[in-house]
Symmetry: C5
Subunit: 95 residues, 5 copies
């Protein structure tokens, strides 16, 4: 899994029927220290995350292992909202 | 999933029989701000996208989770045409 | 899927029995404009491609979705020989 | 699999129910010589690793092949604590 | 699949029970010309490769398609020992 910050939303009216109703969010990838690492991903939200929140997302086939994404053409899913993370004994992020 | 712009088409008469009839498009990858990020992918189109359109594509095994790509040797599928996306409170793209 | 040019061959007499008889080719990865992008992959050939040909290959679990690669430890397969591809209204490659 | 050093912990109270109770650790990726390679991953711990330990982790669908991660939205798992590794005839790391 | 050179060994006494008895080797990744490409992977050996040998390894779910790795948390497997490979009409490597 990787850490990211929800930075945006996306609207797509014409899409694969299996994606109907799935909330899709733009997630800016963060490095271990909480800084943007240069990439992003569009992920389905399975936990009710909002713009600005720090989240954990899973990629690949593992992204289909939630109730909302099972058997769907989804390769990234937000599966946790991060409360806190610590690295090298220091708190990098606290909600 | 990632964002891309359909930039081209591809013709391959000699191919795996399972790919027969699947439309394949060249997709230039876009970053979070809508700029080309340097990569591309050839994706099967499941939503009737055309050259010039901004799309969302899925990769890996998730690309096989649509009606047209199921059980086929396809690792990238266009599964939505993007109408709009916003990042950091600003509209990056509007169709 | 990605584009590549078959640049070489590989011989391996000691291998996983499931790979017996599968032709393996060295494929130089090409970018959207037809230039080498710096990487390569060794792929199983499912379409009778030869050295010098421009091909389309699939990666990951999707590489196992052909008659010759099913259930085999193969993570890249050539599944089409490219006749032509166009980008931004220009023909990048024509066989 | 890749080598990493456990550098931190992560707390997420709101998450996909399937992740309930799974310990998640921040793992700094190491290169072949034991130096940080610049990346990290958040992995589920299946072997009782602690902060500071050098571990081996698996990614992708293979991360779901342990007793604790089966069928869960987990794309990285720590599946071994490294005692020693040698490269080019020299011991790079010894616990 | 990709090419690599076996450069080392790894010992891990505390590990996922499913990995018990699987030989794990450190593999330095090679580019198309036989030079190190900067990366490495720890792979399960399914063919009896030794340190110093040039091998072919598969990644991802395909790494679980051998007799020794089936259903195990293994994302890289050595599935062939390379005898020879040629690129652009020249022999890059001969055992």
């Amino acid at each position: 899994m990787n850490l990211g910050k929800v930075t945006g939303t996306l609207v797509a009216s014409r899409k694969e029927p299996l994606l109907e109703g799935l909330p899709m969010l733009v997630v800016r990838q963060l490095d271990e220290t909480g800084e943007p690492s240069g990439g992003y991903v569009v992920a389905v939200d399975s936990v009710g995350a909002g713009v600005g929140e720090v989240v954990l997302y899973a990629s690949g086939s593992s992204a289909r292992q939630t109730a909302v994404t099972r058997d769907k053409p989804c390769d990234a899913v937000i599966m946790a909202i991060v409360d806190q993370w610590d690295v090298d004994g220091e708190t990098v992020f606290e909600k």
